[in-house]
Symmetry: C2
Subunit: 228 residues, 2 copies
């Protein structure tokens, strides 16, 4: 499958590399291709520069947001919370229309430092905002409640025995995403379909607890598990 | 120990009955004692009238908010989210001062039906609001992320293997609360001290996910577990 990923940061690279390793063809989309290629510094969150990362992932293409969106049969939003709507607008509604869009982003607001607050919360969510802004896109919110390495290799924590949530209005879109998650290593009993896209409020509002646990554990290698 | 509980609903009854069974002396506090005694209807959430419940728990006293607060060496806030500050004001700052107050309440706003939103969220929490309103009280937020029966009998789900969070500014107060939690059946490895009272934002914002899981499972008998 052709997968277009909006973003070039840690989440985009993790999803892109995993999808490519599974035989998918992947383009990462960025605002300014030349600028992204020329960057020599890491992002300050432990990720190397794009160029450095790209040397070990030469099969993954880099393009504009619009090129990634046009190419992808499936789209992944891995932009920052505040950058998501501008990036998707730049990607172009016509390039996104009718496609499944996996939204992994969280509306984290670091303007007052750490811990971040949420720029959208409580009675709305970023997932809903994207769905409302692009009504022709089949938004599925998932993978936004855990660290990049775990997204594509759940076995790294507790033998893979923990929970991933899925929210979205379109049942076939959710089924397609669950199939992709399964190919990433997510087991059937680990995936909880919460319901429509408004349930993204619940998973995005997990982040304030997540960031505190991250601060306490000093590692992002932990996960939420729902037990019954 | 003498325990004063603010509230007479499901949470107050669960904590009160458990504490009494462990040998503590318990008063539940209410706005109007006679009105609470005379009520013949349940609360619509599966709890019987207070009088009916009280017949099987005769050792637990009923008093005003102020009487419960004055009597308790340890105070438990089990009022509703919107009712907490008014109830604690009625309890009286002088009756609360210097005491450990376990805050179990969540700022759920049902004014637009189900699912509720939060009346305080994101950059503030009910736990912080109580601490700020009563600076002389040693607020410890805990037990607000799960259903009443599980609060006092964690073994009812997954053999007790799941997580309870503790937030508060006062380390000895948290230690006292953790001792009480341990007497309720919480195991050492299940209790996570998140840090100061601002971490209550994280646990209160778990509720939007909790209510959706409750809706999905059609039972409140589930829990969050942090795995590493």
């Amino acid at each position: 499958m052709n997968i277009g990923i909006i973003g070039t940061g840690g989440v985009a690279r993790a999803i892109g590399a995993k999808a490519a390793s599974l035989g998918h063809t992947v383009i990462l989309g960025t605002r300014n291709v030349e600028e992204t290629r020329k960057r020599t510094q890491g992002d300050g969150m432990g990720n190397p520069s794009f160029a450095e990362w790209h040397r070990s992932h030469p099969a993954i293409a880099l393009g504009t947001f619009a090129e990634a969106a046009a190419f992808g049969e499936l789209i992944v939003n891995a932009a920052s919370g505040t950058g998501s709507i501008p990036a998707l607008r730049a990607a172009g509604e016509a390039n996104l229309k009718g496609k499944v869009l996996i939204d992994i982003s969280n509306p984290l607001d670091f303007s007052n430092g750490f811990p971040p607050s949420l720029s959208i919360a409580n009675t709305d969510s970023l997932g809903e905002t994207i769905q409302r802004t692009f009504p022709g896109v089949r938004v599925v919110k998932t993978l936004n409640t855990l660290s990049n390495p775990l997204m594509v290799d759940p076995s790294l924590v507790n033998g893979g025995d923990h929970t991933i949530f899925v929210s979205g209005n379109d049942a076939p879109a959710k089924a397609a995403v669950i199939e992709l998650l399964t190919s990433f290593g997510w087991k059937d009993g680990s995936i909880i379909d919460l319901g429509d896209i408004t349930t993204a409020r619940g998973t995005e509002q997990l982040l304030p607890l997540w960031v505190r646990l991250f601060g306490k554990f000093q590692t992002p290698m932990f996960q939420f598990k729902i037990v019954r």
